[in-house]
């Protein structure tokens, strides 16, 4: 039986002719797992919001959404609250109360259950989601992953029949994201709850979906099983193809008659089958990259130690690294290993109690106030929103320019930077109305107006989709060409493998190893790209999707 049925749904915002949703027809079966994907701004979120009329935006609407066979407007707030669960993107703002236990009970309180029922449901949820250990904590003490798990649990406490998730893991690190998505998968399998999910990182939601629906410009362009969706995208040469999981991309890149692999395991088997009985003549990518011994140094850290308080444990334990001028230096590693603190120390935000930091050959203490940040060094923060202080992107960029420039000069500079960061069309928009990827680029524009020689990026790919990632990578390449040194902290293994010149791994407050991305990722067996994990039994050092495809073709 159909759980949701959408018939000829179109939607546009008042005073704007552009159709956000354009004649959508869709049937969602009970108990199915649906992955909805598409570029930012393709109408995914708007579509999801139509599945719960309490939060449906106002505007011009045609067509009908049926829930359980009846138009959704007919089901009241009580039915919708309990039966349709909705988890949003931002872990923080969804939380209402200050205590974990209170948050779990919030929805049940609204529905008017008595003490006994709430106690039981809360206990059930806490046990199912493994929340007991932090049940009595304040919500502000939780990590991002825990917060999002709490949001999920407090929705599940109302025992919904459908669970709608709108990019739930975009603000989480990969490990927390996997944990979260596995829990969602478990709910679908064990409770039979219908799941409708949108995601940027498709690795964890693609293979387990019953159907993958791809949207573009308000239309559904593909609606098929995960194994077949790739065909449609490949044939139409769609941008979304780049967002598919590595095994799928490699499969289509190489071309094969076998079944499409969806996971790393299937990818391995597929490669083995593909090359069964064949001699592998080329098993290595020749990169010519090598770690240089001495080079022109932009940033040096020598034995840097830091702790927040006198009696607190050390966060940095003898960090030593040097960054070559004009290169992209990536810092990877788990949460709480000191990556962010390291870049904070480069900006002088935290002051080490031992060790030396040299920026462009000069001790960091010798820089006068703000001298460090003029034409020298700048950082793009993890949350780009914290840089926006004005009503439009243009004004925000204008704020960065020195006083005393004429309007024309200002305009020229702003246009120049807007061209580099590809935000020319967005200059009159309010920064908060931009999508994650656009905010990222607008904020980068602001940072670039300080004319930095050294640019620090803190988690630059967090919360942006693959399409915007590619754009961002282009910008980084451009900056690199113009001689800017880039230091980036990232969880995004794939991105680092592709775009960094040097990769350093952090663990327990210091650098464990530093190498070229190819050497670095082909040495590792867990902390490496999907492409490498999938091909390491055949090829020595294929790290990116392109590497694997190239070697496969050579061996044909």
């Amino acid at each position: 039986m159909a759980h949701f049925e959408i018939k000829n749904l179109s939607f546009s915002y008042p005073g704007n002719d552009r159709k956000i949703l354009d004649n959508i027809n869709l049937t969602i079966e009970k108990g199915s797992y649906i992955t909805l994907c598409g570029k930012s701004g393709c109408g995914k979120t708007t579509l999801l919001k139509h599945l719960k009329s309490v939060i449906t935006p106002h505007g011009n609407r045609e067509g009908t959404v049926y829930f359980d066979g009846r138009p959704i407007e007919e089901s009241d707030l009580r039915t919708q609250s309990s039966k349709i669960g909705y988890v949003m993107q931002n872990p923080d703002n969804q939380i209402v109360t200050d205590k974990v236990w209170h948050e779990l009970a919030f929805g049940l309180e609204s529905l008017g259950y008595d003490q006994k029922t709430i106690r039981l449901r809360v206990a059930e949820m806490a046990s199912y989601f493994g929340i007991q250990q932090w049940f009595h904590k304040n919500v502000t003490e939780l990590s991002g992953g825990q917060k999002q798990l709490l949001n999920l649990a407090s929705i599940m406490a109302m025992q919904p029949e459908v669970l709608i998730l709108d990019e739930p893991t975009s603000q989480l690190d990969p490990i927390a994201a996997s944990d979260f998505l596995n829990t969602v998968r478990k709910i679908n399998l064990e409770l039979g709850t219908t799941v409708i999910i949108t995601e940027h990182r498709l690795e964890d939601v693609y293979y387990c979906a019953d159907r993958v629906i791809v949207m573009d410009k308000g239309r559904i362009i593909a609606d098929d099983t995960p194994r077949n969706v790739g065909d449609t995208l490949k044939n139409t040469n769609d941008d979304m193809f780049a967002a598919l999981p590595s095994p799928v991309q490699i499969y289509y890149g190489v071309g094969s008659d076998l079944l499409t692999p969806l996971t790393v395991r299937e990818g391995r088997n597929w490669l083995s089958e593909e090359f069964e009985g064949k001699n592998i003549t080329h098993d290595e990518i020749i990169t010519g990259e090598k770690m240089k011994e001495d080079f022109d140094v932009a940033v040096t850290m020598k034995e840097v130690w830091f702790r927040y308080e006198k009696d607190a444990p050390d966060i940095l334990k003898g960090v030593t690294l040097s960054v070559e001028r004009g290169k992209v230096f990536a810092i990877v590693g788990g949460n709480g290993t000191g990556k962010s603190t390291t870049v904070k120390s480069l900006c002088g935000i935290v002051k080490p109690y031992r060790g030396k930091i040299l920026i462009n050959g000069k001790y960091i203490e010798k820089y006068k106030q703000n001298e460090l940040f003029t034409n020298n060094l700048a950082m793009l923060p993890q949350d780009p929103q914290s840089l926006f202080v004005k009503k439009t992107v243009y004004e925000d960029l204008e704020e960065m320019l020195p006083k005393g420039l004429s309007e024309d000069e200002k305009k020229e500079k702003i246009t120049e930077v807007a061209n580099i960061t590809q935000i020319t069309d967005l200059l009159d928009t309010h920064p908060y109305d931009l999508s994650g990827g656009e905010q990222q680029r607008a904020a980068l524009g602001k940072v670039l107006l300080t004319n930095p020689k050294i640019l620090i990026l803190d988690e630059p790919t967090k919360g942006i989709d693959n399409f915007f990632k590619l754009k961002f990578a282009e910008i980084i390449e451009e900056l690199k060409k113009s001689g800017v040194t880039i230091i980036m902290v990232s969880h995004d293994v794939e991105f680092c493998a592709k775009h960094a010149d040097t990769v350093s791994m952090f663990f327990d407050g210091s650098v464990v190893t530093t190498n070229t991305p190819n050497a670095f990722f082909s040495q590792n067996s867990f902390y490496t790209t999907a492409a490498n994990r999938m091909s390491r039994h055949l090829f020595k050092n294929a790290v990116t999707n392109e590497d694997v495809i190239e070697l496969c073709r050579k061996n044909r």
């Binding site: 309490v54 707030l77 309990s82 109360t97 502000t140 700048a378 950082m379 926006f388």
Partner: protein, 296 residues
């Protein structure tokens, strides 16, 4: 010795006990009653905090001596003159009166010290959430926002500093003020944006439906009922006896303190029983654990 079994009772019990102990303690200047209050309040604090509390109790002791002596300096009424200073009489009555009132005062302080470590925000919210449910939700939401806003201010400040937009010179008041106002206005935009999402999140979970209930983590079990009954009964006896003059004490001009009669004994014993509830519960618990442990 540290034990806090009493705080594990229902918050209503905790709160009722402190209301009783502090409320009654404020009215009794009768030396026997005041002495009981001081003794039990100090004992209770000791059972909660152990050696740590001795410093505070010691401080209260000094305060008691000072306040007791001072009263005699300003109040020279009374019949029994102990000595004369600068032409004024220092009387026994004034000294005694000072002792009793300052005993009353320090016992209230001591009770409050225990109150502070027992009555957490959670418990307070639980009690008042039953009286004004929406008010308690607002407080709960506000408590969360305080921390979030604080962190966000630091985040914005750091982000701006790293692009050279921090206060140009932190010692310059005007530039610091300008920078501060930018940070605050950014925070306001951000908070409004977040508020919309929070409001959505509340509506999605049925906020605004009629018949909202309030959930709490605390049970009101048998032992709570029994204890509450006992406390009500004891305080009724105490108040009745006090009304009958059991605790009347006059110091000036002549010392006239009740020291006998059925009401006096009934009232005093009930008072002792009442005040000993919390410390006795803690002590029995500690002893029980010691015995259990020694058996292992």
């Amino acid at each position: 010795m540290k034990s806090d079994a009493f705080s594990e009772y229902n918050p209503i019990i905790n709160f009722a006990f402190f209301i009783g102990a502090i409320g009654l303690g404020m009215f009794f200047t009768h030396p026997a009653f005041a002495a009981c209050s001081v003794f039990f309040s100090a004992l209770y604090l000791y059972t909660i905090k152990g050696r740590e509390s001795l410093k505070f109790i010691g401080g209260m002791g000094i305060m008691f001596i000072v306040l007791s002596l001072i009263n005699g300096l300003f109040n020279s009424m009374g019949e029994t003159v102990l000595f004369v200073y600068f032409g004024r009489n220092y009387t026994l009555e004034a000294l005694l009166y000072g002792m009793c009132t300052s005993a009353m005062l320090i016992s209230v302080f001591l009770w409050f010290a225990s109150y502070n470590s027992i009555m957490s925000n959670d418990k307070f919210m639980f009690i008042f959430g039953r009286i004004i449910p929406s008010g308690s939700l607002i407080i709960s939401m506000a408590l969360r926002l305080v921390t979030i806003y604080k962190n966000k201010i630091i985040q914005i400040h750091t982000a701006r500093k790293c692009i050279g937009k921090g206060a140009a010179d932190e010692n310059d008041r005007i530039s610091a003020l300008k920078n501060g106002s930018t940070v605050i206005s950014t925070l306001a935009t951000w908070a409004l944006e977040g508020g919309v999402i929070t409001a959505d999140s509340m509506r999605m979970r049925g906020y605004g439906l009629p018949g909202r209930t309030t959930f709490s983590n605390y049970r009101f079990g048998m032992r709570d009922k029994a204890l509450l009954g006992g406390m009500v009964l004891l305080s009724a006896v105490i108040i009745f006896c006090a009304a009958m003059g059991a605790s009347s004490a006059e110091f000036i001009p002549v010392i006239n303190i009740t020291s006998g009669g059925i009401y006096f004994y009934a009232g005093l014993i009930s008072y002792i029983l009442f005040l000993s509830i919390a410390p006795i519960i803690n002590i029995t618990e500690a002893v029980r654990w010691r015995i259990l442990r020694s058996r292992i």
